[in-house]
């Protein structure tokens, strides 16, 4: 799929030299490089996937690159979001990204959108670009991007990651499937952990993001075989690549023969999220970190149970007895139900599940440390590292 502009685009002498390694390949040549320069690509997100996407599309000479991000660079981003550097921590991601991209290639026209993509702005925004590259990190936006791409007729170059596995495809072309053909419904919130809870191998968005950039370039040039109707699965640990066939679903609510998605909807509602996400508290008894501190200092007879993983215990701990959550059913007899037990994890989610389990197993004096060791580091002892 080539770009739609009719105006011939020219390359100056500097650009010809800059892109010489493209120009001397028959698959690109002057004509291809001009197509790249005429192309308008929108990158949603300048984080893990957005970093390599934006960097490589800029290097390749895509003429207009739109960037959508409302977020601020966080220290923990630097492990994988390579468009940002240490000096950028605290800056808006857009500003940081623009600096990196301008330094690589001043010929690219960068258009920044400091906003959260929403049903109110997506259609208008997408109409100004030819190809959309989705580098977002949550399900509501994935569905929003997909639906907006189908409604505006723009291809959606998709990539997603989790820990050390990734997926890549090209959705929403006229003949091909869209994201909803594959996944008509999102998972309920909380069922799939995020990078902050599950972790992610820093290189993984690099691997997948460059695949996305590759697909964008192939679509612009009209060369090779794009991932239309194909889901590429990457297992970085095994370095195995598998491919599954994706079919356009004739009953798809977005792109089928009788679509029911004719406008953008409330995607947070669609994904079952209402209001702010709070740390999971499932009604189990809780204790605040200040109270725990006070009682430990008073030498109360409390048993502290830590349900995190051994590698987390090595980062920091409260001297608790370690039984990882998944091992708890098997090792519950190591605990004395006559004692008062305070259970903690990193943020309070896993420990809440542990408390519920212990209550079901007949433990009566058990409570959850609200906010976990993170809250302890924030409010009781700042020497305890956060991770």
């Amino acid at each position: 799929m080539a770009t739609t502009t009719e105006i011939p685009v020219t390359l100056n002498k500097d650009e010809i030299l800059r892109y010489s390694r493209h120009l001397i390949m028959p698959e690109v040549g002057m004509e291809g490089q001009q197509k790249l320069k005429a192309a308008r690509v929108l990158c949603i997100g300048t984080g893990g996937l957005g970093s390599p996407l934006a960097l490589y599309l800029t290097a390749a000479g895509v003429g207009t690159l739109g960037l959508v991000d409302f977020d601020v660079v966080d220290y923990t981003n630097l492990q994988r979001q390579i468009i940002h550097s240490t000096a950028d921590v605290g800056r808006k991601k857009l500003d940081s990204a623009v600096d990196s991209l301008k330094a690589i290639n001043p010929f690219v026209n960068l258009r920044t959108f400091d906003t959260k993509l929403s049903s109110a702005n997506a259609l208008e925004l997408f109409r100004e670009f030819d190809i959309i590259a989705d580098g977002t990190d949550n399900f509501p936006t994935r569905y929003l991007v997909n639906d907006a791409c189908v409604l505006t007729g723009k291809p959606n170059v998709y990539g997603s990651i989790f820990r050390f596995e990734g997926q890549a495809s090209v959705f929403a072309t006229k003949e091909g499937p869209c994201y909803r053909c594959l996944y008509p419904e999102p998972p309920p919130p909380g069922l799939v952990p995020s990078c902050a809870e599950g972790g992610v191998l820093g290189i993984l968005p690099g691997l997948v993001g460059v695949m996305q950039a590759t697909e964008v370039i192939k679509l612009i040039l009209g060369v090779g075989e794009p991932l239309i109707g194909r889901l590429l699965l990457v297992d970085a640990l095994g370095m195995k690549f598998r491919e599954l066939k994706l079919r356009k679903n004739p009953d798809c609510p977005a792109c089928g023969t009788h679509p029911t998605v004719t406008r953008l909807i409330d995607y947070n509602e669609f994904c079952g999220i209402r209001g702010e996400e709070k740390p999971v508290g499932n009604g189990v008894p809780e204790i605040e970190v200040e109270d725990l501190k006070r009682r430990l200092d008073a030498k109360d007879d409390l048993f502290v149970l830590d349900v995190r993983e051994p590698h987390e215990y090595q980062i920091c701990n409260l001297g608790g007895y370690l039984i990882p959550l998944n091992d708890l059913p098997r090792r519950v007899n190591e605990l004395d139900s006559s004692r008062e037990i305070v259970v903690h994890c990193k943020m309070g989610g896993r420990s809440a599940k542990a408390v519920a389990f212990l209550q079901q197993s007949g433990f009566r004096k058990v409570s959850n440390l609200a906010g976990g060791i993170t809250a302890w580091a924030d409010r009781v002892d700042p020497r305890v590292p956060k991770y």
Binding site: I161, E185, P187, R242, L244
Partner: protein, 92 residues
């Protein structure tokens, strides 16, 4: 025997294995064998009334079972079943 590929988010429910060998003449039989061996997996794959969850897709080799015979799809020896859930990284 068929091999069922377990996606990362679900490996914690199968003792961290990346793939599980099961017997079964159809996808339904193979999946039943899987959740019988690893009961914690059931609620992540199936609703309370036994339907495969909408955000999970099953493939036999490289074909989506929805375009084959769904869970009645027959299996040959050495077939690969892939469980492919939706993932979105970052902030779920």
């Amino acid at each position: 025997m068929s091999k069922i590929h377990i996606p990362t988010p679900l490996r914690q429910y199968v003792g961290k294995q990346a793939a599980v060998e099961v017997t079964g003449a159809t996808v339904a039989e193979a999946m039943n064998a899987l959740v019988a061996q690893h009961p914690d997996l059931r609620k992540h794959l199936y609703t309370d009334d036994g339907k495969l969850r909408a955000f999970v897709n099953l493939y036999v080799n490289d074909e989506d079972i929805r375009y084959l015979d769904k869970e009645a799809t027959a299996l040959q020896k050495g077939d690969n079943i892939s469980i492919v859930p939706s993932i979105a990284g970052g902030q779920a």
